[in-house]
Symmetry: none
Subunit: 228 residues, 2 copies
DNA sequence: CGGAGTGTAACC
DNA sequence: GGTTACACTCCG
């Protein structure tokens, strides 16, 4: 019942019965964050690239339209009209050397965060675009997300999230008192209306408590996912 | 007078006197023919990898350019190391396909943001660690950053920033009314005490105004940097 | 010696 | 510039 965020393995519908697909996120090194995709034959043999797969399966399966990374048939591969990339790259810069404090702050505020925001925005816009084109389909948001707001459609919800992210430097004045499970995730930080650098001191216990809170939130979301 | 084809051992000029290098050819298996290289310290201790060697020798020998496999100094390795440190990788995921809304939210909250936070934390910790070791030196923060808080040292300032990022889900209660130029950067978003998804609508003009604000903030920081 | 994990040349 | 495809490392 463990759903690891770094590693997941499941059946692959685009391949014959018994074949499985695995995603592994690189955890360290220059390429940390990159997603490696592997396939396992029914006998357990591991495959790490499409040519390798083709070599093994021969003519028994036509993989010309098979997207190795995504694990599905992609008719776009025939046209070779590669449009928006479907791959995720979780990479991010490593720690730094030869960086003055000034550069550090500058780097954080003017490189990391703007890029992060931009990518989030692009990500969300891409999502709504996909949805509009029917690529994703009419998948609904699960109830616990819907309940966060009085929206008329899921598209509106996603859009408003993107919007809220974009107009970030202005106060977000939405419904209050809606502390859902997803709100307890660790990915929320820095209030623009408060000083950037605050004189907060914490103990190791504080750190551990925070980490445990994160773990609990993840567990709860996993349960929600399983129930959906 | 025995010269074995599968195994040879000799002094290694690139290491201190007394160190030896050994080559062993794999005789069978999938990797038959592959050469494994081992090193022996003057005391006879065996080393099987470069990290192992570096851990043992510590700072006494600079192995950054040492090619473990070849047993020689390789200047190309130096270039690589320097590049890796000097360059940042700003990559982040593109827009997506095949993603339900649920996965979107899950991805944002449980993949992107945790990784982002982790990297920020590592980044800042690396910075303070560097500083403590004198790698960065005693560079001072410029005045306009110092003025943000009553700190006794720059290290404290950086540390508190790292801390504030870490304990993100708790309110950051620092000095108020200190709206510095750096605060106007776009890299501040999402208040944890407000709903994640807010019913905000914006026009294209709003977007452009926001982007121009970013540009202006960047210009001002550049001026401040030039004046420092 | 195997194999998971990471590096990276070559390709598009 | 960004991926793919596979070579290589490191450690069990």
């Amino acid at each position: 019942m463990n759903i690891s965020i770094e590693k997941k393995r499941s059946d692959c519908a685009a391949l014959p019965k018994g074949w499985q697909r695995e995603e592994v996120i690189r955890k360290s090194g220059l390429s940390a964050g990159k997603v490696d995709v592997y396939y396992y034959s029914p006998t357990g043999k591991k495959f790490r690239s499409k040519p390798e797969l083709v070599r093994y399966l021969g003519d028994s399966v036509d993989l010309s339209c098979f997207d190795f990374q995504q694990g599905q048939i992609n008719t776009m591969l025939l046209c070779k009209a590669k449009k928006a990339r479907a791959q995720f790259d979780y990479r991010f810069p490593h720690s730094c050397h030869n960086f003055s404090h000034l550069c550090c702050v500058h780097y954080l505020m003017h490189v990391l965060l703007p890029i992060f925001l931009l990518k989030l925005k692009t990500f969300l816009q891409g999502l709504t675009a996909c949805d509009a084109n029917g690529v994703i389909g009419t998948t609904s948001l699960p109830k616990y997300i819907k309940s966060l707001g009085p929206y008329t459609s899921d598209a509106t919800t996603i859009q408003s999230l993107a919007t809220a992210l974009h107009v970030s430097s202005q106060p977000i004045t939405g419904q209050s008192g809606s502390k859902q499970v997803i709100m307890e995730s660790p990915g929320v930080f820095l209030n623009p209306d408060q000083p950037l650098i605050a004189a907060v001191t914490i103990t190791k216990d504080d750190l551990r408590r925070q980490e445990e809170r994160v773990k609990r939130a993840r567990l709860r979301l996993q349960e929600a996912l399983a129930a959906a």
